[in-house]
Symmetry: C2
């Protein structure tokens, strides 16, 4: 942007918040900037989060059906609660409708909500409706924290794991944006990773039940940026090394994209909604034997260190990765 004043991104907001908003209420247990806010309400802990989906920013009616958009909005919103170790229970929906929208689209939007509510055992408890220039859905989700909540913020000497393939969702979006090119090819699985990311809550619950996860985040804006958010949340002096060859990638991507594109999709694509977490080195053996006995698979893609730098190691070559991924800019 030409005007220097306007040249800011979402990180600017976090700086304002950090500087100006001090915690006063002892029932607010974590801090702004985590995946969700943890509150002590009554005698229990809850996670609360809101997440907006705006037309032509987060989704397009060109690529998704209305019922897919609302269903995905629920996935996106509850992913933040799941990343804190909370069980989603309730959601509110602030629906902002562009004038001229057909009521059939609204019916389908609510059909998607109904389906998601049933699939994830959630209850729609309210919201509001407004007219708007741009169609958007802003979901607030509330979930209960059964045991301990899991925050962002890693420590030195931890192993970094990812629950599942990265890059598939953004590859799916790329295909949707260029449908003609892929006509007749078997790209359904890839597209589906964007349209309806699989959260695999069952697997996540098993992971959490090991009690060995020390920090966690959901990968929404790309591995590069979300890894930084995960490890540096409490301690800026932390660094990490990620081994490219250990990152799980959907095999069929190699049929449709070259190496360079795949690296970009995996590292900076986002929209995957897989979970990135750390386990202490000392707990590694116990953790891995526990998950083996639970019959689940996760991927140890690297480890934290005290260098302050995040590095990608590919074919033995070390590359600093300090920017990338999706940041809202204004």
């Amino acid at each position: 942007m030409s005007n220097r004043i306007n040249n800011f991104d979402e990180n600017y907001i976090y700086k304002i918040l950090k500087k100006n908003f001090k915690k006063n209420n002892k029932n607010f247990l974590n801090n702004i900037g985590d995946d969700a806010s943890i509150l002590k309400l009554g005698n229990k802990k809850y996670a609360v989060s809101c997440d907006i989906q705006i037309e032509n920013v987060h989704f397009s009616f060109k690529y998704s059906k209305p019922e897919e958009i609302s269903y995905r909005a629920v996935i996106v919103a509850i992913s933040d609660l799941l990343a804190m170790g909370a069980r989603p229970e309730f959601f509110l929906n602030s629906l902002n409708i562009k004038k001229g929208t057909s009521s059939k689209i609204i019916d389908k939007i609510f059909y998607g909500f109904k389906k998601a509510a049933r699939d994830f055992n959630l209850e729609l408890i309210g919201g509001n409706v407004s007219s708007s220039k741009q169609f958007s859905l802003d979901l607030t989700v509330i979930g209960v924290v059964k045991k301990k909540y899991i925050s962002r913020g890693s420590s030195v000497g931890q192993n970094i794991y990812i629950t599942d393939n990265l890059g598939t969702a953004s590859a799916g979006l790329k295909i949707l944006k260029n449908k003609k090119k892929y006509e007749g090819l078997n790209v359904k699985k890839i597209i589906q990773a964007y349209i309806k990311p699989e959260l695999n809550i069952h697997k996540l619950n098993k992971l959490i039940s090991t009690n060995l996860i020390k920090s966690m985040i959901d990968v929404t804006d790309g591995l590069t940026i979300d890894l930084k958010r995960l490890i540096k949340y409490k301690d800026k002096s932390l660094g990490a090394s990620i081994i490219w060859e250990k990152i799980p990638i959907e095999r069929s991507l190699y049929k449709f994209f070259n190496q360079k594109t795949i690296e970009n999709l995996v590292m900076n694509g986002g929209d995957d909604y897989k979970f990135l977490f750390t386990v202490d080195e000392k707990d590694k053996k116990v953790f891995e034997s526990k998950i083996k006995s639970k019959k689940i698979k996760v991927h140890n893609i690297g480890n934290t260190d005290n260098t302050g730098v995040i590095k990608l190691i590919k074919s033995g070559m070390v590359k600093k990765i300090d920017s990338g991924g999706f940041l809202h800019r204004f």
Copy 2:
């Protein structure tokens, strides 16, 4: 709108919700369509609500300063909690920023939040940030219900009260839209009722402590529509009579507007954030003596009946009022 399919308003959404979303979770205590959702969380009850403010729908940078817009967004949001008898404690802010917005505006938006947080003893606990074509702020607020929550939905044989003047806020907006006409005139008080509606929480708490309020709503979209929402929420067969001469109106309005305009501002203007509530006829004497001893004043503007019709009685003439006020249409 020309296309019949598109000819729907926000009531259409409530119909979808009523038809398709059945209550399953026993911890959701009231119903969609109330001012806020009441949840049993842990061993306490909480009220949760979200309320969006969209540029050129709910506010304009032409009429309000950025810090006034965010401050008012907090007022608007917590008003829903207050109308349920809850004490606001936390808020999340989903901030959607139009590209090209200056960072100074963002600073001021957060200054308004900070001021409101201090004035209302609230804690900002999170939110999210996105780019958008239209500037908007979507607030989610959470408050604790200390005793019983107060729902919408009146009964036959109740007196209808309003806490304070109606029509002033929309008169203020009318003046702001035509500033030149009112230059040099003493309209500050009227404008202020729009810019920063006075919630008078102290008075509301005293009213609630009588334990005699049977139903309540905040007047946001105009007396006509909000009265209908209040009394018919549980029983469509209810009606009401409102006596025009009993509605409190800021005296200075008569200096600037004619009778017809004032009636429209009072009945359909909205934006007042005063509280409309009912008290059983049998409790009327006790209620009024209680509030007298608490040194607060409210206005008995009418009563409910079993006619199904809402009537305005002005100079002894009865007029049916079944539409009016602000409804989002698409």
